[in-house]
Symmetry: C2
Subunit: 296 residues, 2 copies
DNA sequence: ATCATGGATCAGGTAATCTGATCCAAGGTG
DNA sequence: CACCTTGGATCAGATTACCTGATCCATGAT
């Protein structure tokens, strides 16, 4: 097995060869010329050959130096490039988040994370992934719901907050439609976050109301659109109280039956991530930050 | 310009990755496991990613480690191989030497050099090169004669000993042939080191002897063969006193005219070498040794 | 339950490395 | 031709990085 010469001496020599002088190398390495001179001499002594011809002004590569330099330059460049890529990947945080959670919770807060960790590049993909399996290769972290049946092995989970649902509509809609009693929902326009109508079905399972057909009403592509339709007075949405906090505080959405709040049977919002990425610095920083945002 | 991570840490990581454990790496690098552990951690901190997954027993490469390792292994191997080649070339001493000087002077002494510098591999080529130009690329040093007209630029010269010539023959030849006076050489069988007959011509220029034809006699390929023919009683050789010292001391060769010794007009034996190899350690060691042998 | 394995960690000592001043040789300049 | 500039060599002393060796800890095997 061939023995490797002193690596720091090799680096000093490579820099000196590239700069065609010790002073340039010294500047690049942030050391004095004496240090470079010493490194080069050490390497020459190790190899038993002069690597430079010394002139009055500067140096020039010897035969041996001319053979050694390109190997070093290329090798160091490859190592540096790969290290660079790994290090930058370490600061590239890919997150996937469902639309409503993304628009209504994550995006308004994300600037605070970016301000705290300006070196971490957050790449947010706003899309569903709950019904499909979480792609732990492509994404470092994913927002999801806890009781997801299909879940790959080696997935770590961090719970964030529960999902509490209750019907909500605009004040104008309540004024123009009878919503005194839950049974009045039978005549209301139900707004669905998906064509599955699971939101209303689940809520009606907790609060059985006779005469209400969970299949009735309008379908939207996601909860955010359904909620915005509700704000516009289109009907009654099964609102996520956490995600609609702004509208509820501003009064653009109201709860006709504020006591009838159900916990989603799918469980709360959580973070998913592959186990072997779970403790990467960038992942841990994001998880800690999210936990802080949830708590604060 | 990408910055290079700490090189010693890279080496420690590479060894640990190859051995799939810190203990093996520690043995290879002749350090303790703590040192390896420290290096790996330093590198992980530098890159911002774990390179190993730590288990109860041993470690395994993480995604980032799996990407980094092959680059390092390959680069280090290439560097080590090139360094190895350069270092071994530094101990590979190619010498060319004319036959007589080789057989009669250098070879009997060369073992002393090899004993003193057992790491230096001496590659001796015994062949003429005086009439052609000395090949300073192929050979680190060449034995030659000083007054060589064709000589490449940047060739350094180190004089060794003068060449002193006088006719010599075996005692039997002298007993059976009249060699009382120089003029008796006209009837003797002259032995020539080359078909050029320069040896006898030069000597006759110093000591003009009437009646002697320098073209007469037998030709040999080199001075050694001509000398050995003289020992066998074939005739009279123009002997190099330094190269025939053994025969003269043993009495197998005698000088009929011991006062008639000429200095060769071609000058003495010398060492040639390209100027930029002249001070290579292996070259300097050989030159110093030769000078010592000449003096001692 | 106990031991063996393999890594993490820490304080302390040592050796490698760097600094900064000085010296030197050669080429450029007026 | 004296002078200055450039670029490397060298040295003593300071500093830093590195290694050691002991201890600790988690886990899997006996």
């Amino acid at each position: 097995m061939p023995k490797l010469p002193p690596l720091n001496a090799l680096r000093a020599f490579e820099a000196a060869a590239r700069h065609e002088g010790f002073i340039g190398a010294a500047e690049e390495l942030h050391v004095t010329r004496g240090a470079v001179s010493r490194h080069v001499k050490l390497l020459e002594h190790h190899l038993g050959v002069p690597l430079f011809r010394r002139h009055a002004q500067g140096v020039s590569l010897s035969e041996a130096g001319r053979r050694l330099m390109p190997v070093l330059t290329e090798s160091f460049a490859r190592i540096a490039a790969e290290a660079e890529r790994i290090a930058s990947d370490a600061l590239d945080l890919h997150i996937i988040c469902p639309p409503a959670t993304s628009i209504r919770w994550l995006l308004p807060r994300l600037d605070r994370f970016r301000a705290r960790h300006p070196d971490i590049q957050v790449r947010l993909t706003t899309d569903f992934h709950c019904d499909t399996m979480f792609n732990g290769v492509e994404y470092d972290l994913g927002f999801s719901i806890e009781n997801q049946p299909t879940r790959a092995p080696n997935i770590a989970v961090q719970g964030l907050f529960g999902v509490r649902m209750s019907p909500a509509c605009s004040p104008a809609y309540r004024a123009s439609h009878p919503l005194e009693r839950p049974e009045d929902l039978a005549q209301a326009d139900l707004l669905h976050e998906t064509p599955r109508h699971g939101d209303w079905t689940d809520w009606l399972a907790t609060f059985p109301v006779t005469g209400v057909d969970p299949a009735q009403g309008h379908d939207f592509a996601n909860l955010d659109l359904a909620t915005r339709a509700a704000v516009m007075g289109t009907g009654v949405v099964m609102a996520d109280l956490m995600l609609c906090r702004d509208e509820l505080e501003a009064g653009t959405l109201v709860l006709p039956f504020p006591e009838m709040v159900s916990d989603s049977p799918l469980g709360g919002i959580c973070l998913l991530g592959m186990a072997d990425k779970w403790d990467l610095p960038k992942v841990r920083l994001f998880r800690d930050w999210v936990a802080e945002e949830v708590a604060g």
